[in-house]
Symmetry: C2
Subunit: 412 residues, 2 copies
């Protein structure tokens, strides 16, 4: 073997090139060569307006600009500014916190940091996290980095209808093999499909989970990756499912990975929180202590400016209304773009995975790389996944949506 | 045993209260009760001016305020903006990069993130990192979080002179027990003592390390925690030791934990980089790949605004000169405050650990908690360490320095 400085578990990491980055580079090259309007760049996971410009909520941007130096540049406490932690909980639930539950939050760099804390603290080394078969790649990276594995559950049946069958089967299998199971649901507005679990989906799976943990040694931690929740519909409707997180036994822990990246167009500021919901005060206390320790032992503390912004916003209904309104405009814009694609897909008979909101639309493909290459020949840049191709409707100008479905159908 | 949701390795974490936080709270309570000028708060690890106000370099603050939305709020690449990575290397060395070495950098949240990557990737699970006996507490937290341990080396002999004897002994012992050894030097301007290793210290220890790795299975990774390097003296003199990192065998890897927290008063913005220096291109490539993977698997990416600032500054000599000048004023202010304490300590015969720069001064104490309590009775708030008490001269108004040494002597 070649010489390596790294410890045995770390060798060979990161040698696979990043797929999204490579496509993005080719898209940028094409734009430089042919001009911006000639290229459909459906790879970027951030909001761009119809002029192809990066979108920052102006109310958010302005708030950062005028914030006191101390709030922007001094340290936040390890767990997060206390008002931020409360604000993160309040913003996540927006009135839908289940009765008779305890909550706690710990600041994290975006949603990633929260998922890291959940995978690391709630799984033994060698255990597997249960994630959807259509998944955000970093779930696997987070598991790999921490010597955990992943098992996937089928999200859709053969007709592309959402199904809980496989989550149930896989949860049972994992619980037979390991005491701690972490199950990830990326909803509403799932990345990459845009599917949103219904309240009925939630009731059904929570009831099932309850049947699986009569042995107190067996523990299920649910991670709700809610990164796209504010780009699906009204905050009341999209958050209603959270009320169902009450009345669970102490060995079912719900965690919400809250991220400011999309909701506050603060992707590069790195802020979010992992929020615990439990019927047990002790489980929540253990979560707060353990995750705070983890933060100190990994990144120290979170970006203070974002914490201050969220804390201040939750105390200022006018400011919140302003930010909500601005965000809703872009949320509507994304849904409008998606609608064009969905309608045309129906017209041309293009099958797609059920989209309810969020940044991405996905079309299943037998050979995603080949399909992506054909589209690239037409200056349409998409991200090929394992079983489909992903369109970032968050970043695609509305005027570029029309015709995409037909071209995709032709490329398949 | 009580019920726990967490995996076995994570149980019981974070139940010990944070010592610094508790003192800080008492100091704040005292200030509210007696007035700011009546209280000496020597606990805060950030620069405050002589009016007791948080210091932000105005040139840095202004740059954040006027930065384009996209630079402030959009994602940076996982490893960091390429110009930032080069800027971090250039800023760290400022012309002192050793000849015939390869370098690479990966963006991290402050220095903490870099130390995390080094401990995790360059030690096997269960291995120990070698850190000074006077140490920044989180070194141990970082090791604990990742199921590594720490061994400490004595920094000073009985007369409080710096010694390399124990580093050598402990390095030999650890290399006998494990293949990978990570040794941390927090220099120049060591936290908590203010000691700066001389070029002779560095030559001596590097020569020793070379004698320890003739067996290629044995590997030494040096972490230079350079958080306080810009608060010691002229950038040329303080960085000269870096030239000595050339000509090392491939199984000695040097890493620099560069942090923007202090040098750019951007503590709460969370930016820095871990920089690798090696005679082997392959070792540096492995570092870049492995650490980028780690970043993706822990926090995704770094704060873009800070990366943009550093990248732009290194391309703009005028902007750099402006920031350097502003920083030097505060660096001088801190050294001036320390000088008052040092002079008075000599006058009253108070022993202290050798201070050359940085944010903290440390006085050895047989019973640090008792001494700290006595000082608190006099409204002087310090952080008790294992073998001494720490004064944050970075935060103490100059007019409060006089008399502190005598009061400390009396409290011992």
């Amino acid at each position: 073997m070649e010489f390596s400085m790294m410890a045995s578990h770390a060798r060979g990491k990161g040698t696979k090139p990043d797929a999204v980055f490579a496509v993005l580079k080719r898209a940028n090259d094409a734009m430089a060569k042919y001009g911006k309007e000639k290229v459909v760049n459906a790879t970027i996971g951030a909001i761009y307006d119809d002029d192809g410009k990066f979108v920052a909520l102006s109310s958010v941007s302005e708030y950062y600009r005028k914030m006191a130096d101390e709030e922007m540049m001094s340290y936040a406490p390890i767990a997060g500014i206390p008002e931020f932690l409360q604000a993160a909980i309040d913003y996540a639930f927006q009135g839908n916190q289940p009765e008779n539950t305890y909550t706690a939050a710990v600041a994290t760099p975006g949603g990633t940091g929260g998922i890291r804390h959940a995978f690391y603290n709630y799984l033994e080394q060698g255990d597997k996290a249960l994630i959807p078969d259509w998944f955000w790649g970093p779930y696997k990276t987070i598991a790999d980095e921490h010597l955990r594995g992943v098992e996937t559950y089928k999200m859709f049946d053969e007709d592309y209808n959402f199904t809980l069958e496989d989550v149930k089967v896989k949860t049972g299998e994992l619980l037979a093999a390991q005491d701690n199971v972490v199950v990830v649901f990326n909803t509403p507005g799932h990345n990459p499909t845009g599917y949103s679990m219904t309240d009925e989906n939630w009731s059904e799976i929570l009831e099932f989970f309850k049947t699986q943990v009569s042995d107190k040694q067996k523990k299920i931690t649910v991670v709700v990756d809610m990164a796209y929740i504010d780009f699906v519909g009204s905050s009341q409707k999209t958050r209603n499912f959270m009320k169902l997180f009450g009345g669970l036994p102490e060995n079912i822990l719900i965690t919400l990975a809250f991220s400011m990246s999309k909701s506050f167009t603060s992707y590069g500021m790195r802020s979010g929180a992992l929020i615990a919901v439990s019927s047990s005060a002790e489980v929540v206390r253990e979560f707060a202590n353990g995750c705070q320790f983890s933060s100190r032992g990994v990144w120290s503390n979170g970006t203070r400016a974002c914490q201050r912004l969220l804390a201040d916003m939750m105390k200022d209904p006018q400011l919140k209304a302003k930010m909500d309104k601005e965000r809703e405009q872009y949320s509507s814009l994304i849904l409008k773009r998606a609608d064009i694609f969905i309608k045309e897909a129906q017209e041309v008979g293009l099958k797609m995975l059920p989209y309810h909101g969020g940044f991405f639309i996905t079309v299943p493909a037998a050979d995603p790389k080949a399909t992506a290459e054909k589209l690239e020949a037409d200056n349409i840049f998409v991200v090929p996944l394992k079983k489909g191709i992903r369109f970032a409707v968050c970043a695609l100008p509305t005027q570029q949506m029309s015709g995409l479905a037909a071209k995709t159908k032709a490329a398949l």
